[in-house]
Symmetry: C2
Subunit: 713 residues, 2 copies
């Protein structure tokens, strides 16, 4: 069902409308009138009477016409009865501003359940409760169904924000920068109409060119991801997650009553579906404005022009630090600039056109960079010298901007009063203009992040004909996948109510998915260990095997580097004595020695799937936290992106004269793990730690696998 | 000599004054008049005549009165003659706006030398050339000796900027935020009056409360550091270095003609002398304003108050990410807040006073945090609800601010038109107010960085009685320093014109400074290696020793892990054969096996001293670039700060169940190295790589020392 009843209502009623100034019930009524709502407004209050010149109805059922949308602004315990009445009246959508629901816990949770059930019964939709409301500035609707105070003027940027405060701050900033907005929604508890649903509606709204999305806690990450993935190729979504630090997350939790796991999930979700992520509201607003006026850059190669040294250098620093590149100019560009600029000008990237540059020089430089095939975007620094025809320079920008196929971003450093005309021409031409080189460069970098997201093809995940031993088809990767064998292992462990798979079970699971692992065998007695070792081959690692001993290393249950039978037997006898108090056996495992220690893991996240982790092992994980994450299902491109995004990636390529690792093999292990956990949602955690990653031609193997199950199928 | 003639002139002449609009010679004349210069202005131009109502003199000598300060705005080749005339006239200071000197290379360099020599002869000072000029807004002077266009209004922030463009951008921002400035200086080539000298002048200016310093390339880092160190305890210096990336540094180089080594020197210089470093002009301006109005926080513990969830969370995230902490509130604070706020309020840090909070609630919360002994600064989020007496809230802030001993920073989120009174009260009270929680938190964090710098005592470097073997005094550290022995080693190597010390020499140098190193002995033949090994003890490392083989490892000239004489002899014979083409001997060295690999190094920097590097060795240095730097002389506190600032510091403390290292021993090695290179400036580079850092009680030793000399004493 479309959300038109919410965003394009023909009539709005306010249950709890009031003639007392400074009340929410009065403010909403007033806002609807003040901002020129094109439909009808019906105040409702059991006291009746008038608000100004408008008659107040004693109940919603007393309203003589059909009502699309109803605001409910009464005490929380009275809300269910009002919802019921609205249902009977045939109302299509409700905005429940009232607080005191899920966010307060206890009775509030029950109250919220009750109103959701009632609304479902009547086929009504609820926005809120505990929310501000919505706005739609479309002149044919002009609905300000919200109790806040910021002016509404039409624009092409729409805002969805979980926090009303953030929505307000963003809205104020857009207004101050002379830009309006299109639609605005701050859904509070979002008990029915959800953020993904709002996103979908705005994605389909032709008047919305850019969507700003603020998130405090992700309720339906998978759905958000699916919807956002469809929008991003034709419309940017600029996202911000707050509560990134554990202190911030605690504040979110006390604020929304939601459970927040302070982790990287949101960032990974944003990345997977192409939402451009921000941690700064101002940069977010400025980027939204820029993308509402200019095309997204097709690549990260920026050309910079400046008439002032210092700010030109700052733009350069900022572009580079934000991941853009400043390529050399093409020979024909240089040739042309040499002819067009004075000899003291710097014909390089950045181009220094000198403080004396007027319309002719700026026109030549901007035009040349727009034509240079090696440049994806042009960043213009322009400080306004008193001896230059600055308005003429601005008109040159305007002219070139009209036919430009690449984005132009301006940094206009000036006294806004004395150079008002110049600024006006630049802005009128749809060229975003910033007063600081830092902001100009950061906005361009953010626009580029969208440009790259937009055209980034991650490809589909290997679509997986996983077959049982009887099936003849090959799996998506080389090496068959035998799902039936894996199913048997997991069912058996679940039947035995075991949380962690045994070493033998883990080995069987890895084998079924052709994930290469250290050879392993089990033994019941020290004597059997020798047989086991003959199977796996020396040197070996010996581990005690007992359900009672989960942290084997810490308990002294692991002996490494056993080179021969004598050493093995001695070690096995010692462990046998040490753990005599608990039932135990032994694990004898091939000792891996060559290769870099890596970590590959998986963790299930509610309503999402599994997070897949990839990083350098040992100290790099524990001290440097150098881990990249992805979300199942994973494509090969995504796995490559993960591998490229760790700080220690040079080690994979071979640093300090050492050989690089077999990246293809590592990527294959990551993909097979992603497939495994996708096939078996009951696997809640996997830790391959360490994986020994060897150079090409040598075996890369999982040395230790810890696999955790839930009891649900 | 004071710079009063420059900043507080009684009379200013302009050589090259012009009546043609849009020329620099006209603009400077006009600016002096427009901005109300309190002294006399004398235009000078060989053409004579009038500019407006002012008589133009045909030469500076024709001016009938004494002239303090002269602008020179004529063609570069005419400048020397003008300088000479000014000298004869008895002028005290010159501002040479004209370009075409050192920055263009070649003849320009000669021209610049010439004018400096001439000025010295006459006892005149030069500001510039290739510069904008200066301003002093002190109402008793009001001198706008500059050709730029931004308004001048009195304030307490002074600006020194190498880049005129950056100076302008900063100045415009201060003006736009409703703040003036005190003094302004953009010295261009700074051929005579230098940035450190300007800094010193502003440090002594009672009207300057905060100094903004922009640097592109550091000409006199040691002097800057000495002067800044004296200013920082009583006045903040906020610094910004541009050209941080290699692309940016290239742009600096093409811009100023200076040689820029793209490195971390400036950051380390800033840190050593307490200059608070910025990479963002806006944050720099906002922090300058805040510090001109509020005291610096005494510590990093912030208390946050909010009436809106989302922005409160953002403030929290930003404070934590900027290194501040949000401690628990004191019991008495909580007790008081429980009594003063509604039950739904959050009594924690951040304090959520709820959207309904009025003057009483805000007053209680701000007052309580100001009194809490565990809180160093208070950050107030205030979104202005229409149903609250917002002006009353602001007046409460005003009242509390008057007696506050701690800084108050405000984030006032509002519609500036409708809540103008509220904003006015807050700003009038000297409380800086930001529209974004991000900026408010970042400013407070930057203020805190200054607060910590201000009171940070690094202590003196160990003051060094280094003595020769005959002297009885102990060195500053345990273990005597024998400077005479070191002198002999270095003189011998210099006499032999050797760039790198031999292994034996390096060992002797370390021994003289009691820097523990792996035992080492040299041998001339494979057979002698066995004797050498008996001295150092097995296992040993064998290295070829030849001036022709600088990169021993890469050339295959190193064999490690030799456990006995047989292995050693075999290896020595093999190396002997391999390097038969060059004269060579052998180095036999104790093989170190326990401990973490560290890197400790030194590098001389012109006009500064030595940079000392400390980091985790191997992959951490080469891949993660995890190195901390300091500048000689180093104090113990500074070495501790270096050790604490590396990302992998947890490894020093003992990560992954391993023991930590002997930090005191490592610190001692760093201090001894700092002493060594300070005693011998001829040492240009030292690389202790690796140092094996062992736990306390075990020996920590330098495994390999590479020491490079210059030929100068």
């Amino acid at each position: 069902m479309s959300l038109d009843a919410l965003f394009r209502p023909h009539s709005v009623a306010i249950i709890g409308a009031s003639d007392r100034k400074l009340t929410i019930g009065n403010r909403i009524f007033q806002n609807l009138l003040d901002f020129g709502f094109k439909g009808k407004v019906f105040p409702v209050n059991p006291k009746g009477g008038m608000i100004g010149e408008t008659k107040v109805f004693e109940s919603i059922t007393a309203v003589p016409e059909h009502v699309d949308l109803v605001h409910i602004v009464i005490k929380n315990t009275f809300v269910p009865a009002a919802v019921d009445e609205c249902g009977k009246k045939g109302v299509k959508a409700l905005i429940i501003n009232t607080a005191g629901f899920k966010e307060v816990g206890g009775d509030g949770i029950e109250l919220e359940k009750k109103i959701v059930e009632a609304a479902r019964r009547y086929g009504m939709r609820i926005f809120g409760p505990n929310c501000q409301g919505i706005m739609n500035s479309d002149p044919s609707v002009s609905v300000y169904a919200n109790f806040t105070f910021t002016r509404m003027s039409p624009g092409s940027i729409s805002i969805i924000a979980q926090s009303g405060g953030v929505a307000e701050v963003v809205n104020q900033r857009l207004a101050e920068l002379g830009h309006g907005f299109r639609m605005y929604a701050s859904p509070g508890n979002a008990c029915d109409i959800s953020i993904p649903e709002l996103l979908e509606y705005l994605g389909n709204d032709p008047g919305t060119k850019v969507i700003i999305l603020h998130i405090e806690s992700l309720a339906e990450p998978r759905r958000l991801m699916e919807i956002a993935s469809r929008i991003v190729p034709h419309k940017p979504i600029l996202g911000m997650k707050t509560g990134r630090t554990s202190e911030g997350a605690r504040a979110v939790s006390s604020h929304t009553g939601g459970l927040v796991k302070q982790d990287t999930t949101t960032e990974v979700v944003f990345k997977k579906c192409g939402i451009v992520s921000f941690s700064d509201e101002d940069l977010l607003c400025q980027t939204a404005i820029a993308l509402s006026m200019q095309p997204a850059p097709a690549g990260s190669r920026v050309g910079i022009i400046t008439n002032t040294g210092g700010p030109g250098i700052i733009s350069t620093d900022e572009c580079i630090e934000a991941g853009l590149s400043l390529p050399d100019l093409a020979p024909q560009t240089k040739e042309f600039l040499k002819k067009s600029l004075p000899p003291e000008a710097t014909i390089a990237n950045p181009v220094d056109v000198l403080a004396t540059a007027g319309p002719k020089e700026y026109g030549a430089a901007v035009g040349a960079l727009l034509q240079d095939p090696g440049i994806d975007s042009v960043l213009i620094n322009f400080i306004t010298p008193f001896f230059v025809d600055c308005a003429g320079v601005a008109r040159e920008f305007e002219k070139l901007s009209k036919s430009a196929q690449k984005p132009l971003v301006g940094i206009v450093m000036t006294d806004k009063k004395n150079w008002a005309e110049t600024l006006q021409i630049v802005k009128g031409a749809g060229i975003p203009a910033y007063e600081f080189p830092e902001m100009g460069a950061r906005v361009l970098a953010a626009m580029t992040r969208y440009g790259l997201m937009k055209k980034r093809g991650t490809g589909a995940p290997p679509t997986e004909p996983s077959r049982d031993r009887e099936g003849a088809a090959h799996a998506s990767h080389d090496g068959h996948i035998h799902k039936d064998e894996a199913t048997a292992v997991i069912k058996a462990a679940q039947a035995a109510r075991r949380e962690f798979l045994s070493a033998k079970e883990a080995a069987a699971l890895l084998s079924a998915y052709h994930i290469p692992a250290a050879r392993v065998a089990t033994a019941d007695s020290p004597e059997q260990c020798a047989d086991a070792a003959r199977m796996v081959g020396y040197p070996v690692v010996l581990k005690v095997d007992s359900e009672k001993v989960v942290h084997k290393t810490e308990m002294g249950g692991v002996v490494v580097g056993l080179k021969d039978e004598a050493a093995l037997l001695a070690a096995a006898k010692e462990l046998h004595a040490k753990f005599s108090a608990v039932p135990h056996g032994f694990i004898v495992q091939e000792q891996l020695t060559t290769g870099h220690e890596m970590l590959i893991g998986a963790q299930s996240v509610a309503n999402l799937g599994h997070l897949i982790a990839f990083g350098l092992g040992g100290i790099f994980v524990e001290v440097m936290r150098d881990v990249a994450f992805g979300i199942t299902p994973l494509s090969k491109v995504e796995v490559e992106e993960m591998m490229n995004s760790i700080k220690g990636r040079k080690i994979l390529e071979g640093a300090r004269g050492q050989k690089g690792v077999d990246r293809a093999r590592l990527a294959d292990i990551v993909l097979r793990l992603a497939q495994l956990v996708t096939d078996f949602p009951a696997i809640t955690e996997v830790d391959f730690n360490p994986v020994f990653a060897a150079p090409e031609g040598k075996p890369t193997k999982v040395a230790d696998a810890r696999i955790r199950l839930s009891q649900q199928a």
